[in-house]
């Protein structure tokens, strides 16, 4: 098992190097230092001297070799430098923001995956009936609404009208639950439909397999077939797919944290977008990728545990 994990970690290195090259090219190759400076100074209608000063101050005049090091080695060492806009140390802000973000997104993640499995199993159990058909229609409808509408509408109805939680703010000392309830519920509603539909397909694919017919011929009940045979097999594609939830969680963090005043990484990135803060965005792209690759590795490990056909050594 250890060797399997190690091998998987080693495989991630070329991918990570590729990502670093990509971000380096994007941030230092496509936009000129001057345009970055102008964008950051735009509100002040800068003179050429101001522009040059800004470039020098933020290190965009350094030779390519130094920039390459900043975009690769420093990133890998988590040395993100200072913010272009506020000059704060990026790593400090990331450390502060990680906690709230992890709390909110893991709540959404767990809720979405388990909720979706539950609904999908029900839909599969009642396949072909109106329960199944209604689920499918509701899912398509939910998938057709923009995330931002969930955020704005959800806050209006759940927080303002029904008062399930505060509209703004985050103070774990006075009760974590009430602060994350509404944002999590919104993230859950926005993300679950896609997963339900996917899991339902996985389950139905399994139900049409030959081994289910064998189980029926043995006299096993439909409930037991679903719980003991189908679900265990469907978990393999479901687990493989959970990593696909991560981008949705990042988007959720970006939209929800800012709108509900949760001081997480999403809020930080949202601020950075508003102030054209390239260095922060660069750091967040790297962190997000790291998270995603980590998720992929975890998925592979989980996959190897669930599927007896995968040889781990």
């Amino acid at each position: 098992m250890l060797r399997f994990i190690l091998r998987r970690l080693l495989q991630a290195i070329p991918t990570l190097l590729g990502v670093l090259t990509l971000t380096w090219f994007l941030f230092f190759g496509t936009a000129s230092a001057e345009s970055i400076a102008r964008r950051n100074l735009s509100s002040k209608d800068p003179t050429p001297a101001q522009v040059q000063g800004w470039i020098k101050e933020h290190g965009y005049d350094q030779p390519p070799a130094v920039q390459l090091r900043k975009a690769t080695v420093d990133m890998l060492m988590f040395k993100f430098g200072k913010s272009d806009a506020t000059k704060e140390d990026i790593w400090t802000r990331i450390r502060q923001g990680a906690g709230p973000s992890i709390v909110v997104s893991s709540t959404i993640f767990i809720g979405t995956v388990f909720g979706a499995i539950l609904v999908a199993v029900l839909a599969a159990a009642f396949r072909g009936t109106y329960i199944d058909k209604t689920t499918t229609i509701v899912c398509v409808l939910l998938m057709s609404v923009v995330y931002t509408v969930y955020v704005i509408g959800g806050q209006y109805f759940l927080s303002k009208q029904l008062r399930y939680g505060p509209i703004w703010g985050f103070d774990p000392a006075s009760g974590l639950f009430k602060y994350i309830l509404v944002p999590s519920a919104i993230g859950f509603a926005a993300g679950i439909a896609t997963e339900i539909r996917l899991y339902r397909t996985f389950l139905l694919d399994e139900i049409s397999q030959d081994y289910v017919r064998t189980a029926r011929a043995k006299g096993v009940s439909e409930t037991r077939i679903l719980a003991q045979h189908v679900l265990k097999n469907a978990l393999i594609p479901i687990i493989t797919n959970t990593v696909a939830v991560i981008p949705g969680l990042i988007l959720g963090g970006l939209l929800l944290e800012n709108f509900f005043g949760i001081p997480g990484l999403g809020s930080y990135l949202f601020e950075a977008l508003g102030s054209n803060d390239f260095s922060v965005v660069r750091a967040m792209v790297f962190l997000g990728t790291l998270l995603y690759i980590f998720g992929l590795i975890m998925t592979d490990i989980a996959y190897a545990i669930v599927d007896p056909r995968v040889r781990i050594d």
């Binding site: 072909g128 049409s208 397999q209 030959d210 081994y211 017919r213 064998t214 189980a215 029926r216 011929a217 043995k218 006299g219 096993v220 009940s221 037991r224 003991q228 045979h229 265990k232 097999n233 393999i236 669930v306 599927d307 007896p308 056909r309």
Partner: protein, 325 residues
């Protein structure tokens, strides 16, 4: 003699986008206790659907049993609800399928799946476990103790089919339905599996319904044969009679397409044409299109002549009808 299984005028149809496919369209046959009835025919003739219909395992929601009666031990089991059928499945009537590669659950151990066959019918877990070991030994797995903890992918096709046989026989059923049990296996393994089934059948005194297209197997194990074509039985007879003197042109064609010692050096016969579309059966004789002895009468559907115990033929030809007298 009292029949163990009696199927009367069974019709199993499928709703599809092309209309209703009458896969099984008025099939009757019976199986006597301890005896073997073979159903032979080309793929697509409805023989597997007939087998699945007995256990009410026709793929839903497209497939359904339109009409007919299936008596098992004197009871019309089509009257049973889906839930009530469960008590019969695996306990009184067991089934072996064609594809040993996919018929076992890939994520459960052999021991788990074998024990389950018994625990769902009320046996307690330790007893089921002990019997599982016994069964694996009986069906000839090399290391039954290890096999209990193995997963299906760790076994060969032949070994998996042995496991399927163990599962089917776990509760000592009265009737075994074997749906092409050896088709997917290597030729060398086929004979071993078939003789194992035969051996266990004699040991347990089971009746067997054998679905196959392999006439060689039929001649070795079956007491009676029903030949199916296009969703219907076209000829039924005791094995010996049928092999000795096939009457229906389709049955004759089947035998003629086999290599045989007494026709050495001659060309093998082939049946021209293809089976008609199941969504749109011809109104007359369904074999007429491919038949060499076609008569004018063949544009009307022929009845199945003859008595159930002896020979039955569904044909307008005088030579075929003769036998029924």
């Amino acid at each position: 003699m009292e029949k163990l299984l009696q199927v009367d005028d069974l019709r199993t149809w499928f709703r599809t986008s092309r209309g209703i496919v009458k896969a099984v369209d008025g099939v009757s046959f019976d199986v006597a206790p301890g005896k073997t009835r073979a159903i032979v025919g080309e793929s697509g003739c409805g023989k597997s659907i007939t087998a699945l219909s007995i256990l009410q395992l026709v793929p839903e929601p497209a497939g359904y049993i339109e009409s007919g009666k299936i008596h098992f031990g004197g009871e019309d089991i089509l009257e049973r609800s889906w839930t009530d059928m469960r008590g019969l499945r695996g306990r009184e009537i067991a089934m072996i399928f064609q594809e040993p590669m996919t018929s076992l659950n890939p994520t459960r151990t052999i021991g788990w799946q074998l024990s389950e066959a018994m625990t769902v019918h009320g046996k307690d877990a330790p007893a089921a476990r002990a019997r599982a070991l016994e069964l694996l030994e009986r069906v000839g797995l090399r290391d039954p103790n290890a096999a209990l903890r193995q997963y299906p992918h760790e076994l060969s096709g032949g070994m998996r089919q042995r496991v399927m046989i163990a599962i089917a026989l776990a509760n000592r059923p009265k009737l075994l339905i074997a749906d092409e049990p050896t088709t997917a296996l290597d030729v060398t393994v086929q004979a071993q599996i078939m003789s194992l089934i035969k051996e266990l059948q004699d040991e347990l005194g089971m009746a067997m319904l054998l679905i196959t297209h392999d006439l060689g197997i039929v001649s070795e194990v079956a007491h009676d044969v029903s030949v199916m074509y296009a969703g219907q039985v076209v000829e039924a007879a005791p094995t010996r009679d049928l092999f000795h003197d096939p009457r229906h042109p389709y049955t004759q064609g089947l035998f003629a397409s086999l290599p045989a010692r007494n026709r050495r050096g001659k060309d093998l016969m082939t049946l021209d044409g293809i089976v008609p579309d199941a969504a749109n059966w011809p109104t007359g004789c369904r074999f007429a299109e491919r038949c060499a002895h076609r008569l004018d009468a063949c544009s009307a559907p022929p009845a199945l002549h003859g008595s159930g115990t002896h020979r039955q033929v569904r044909c307008h030809l005088p030579s075929a009808m003769e036998v029924t007298k």
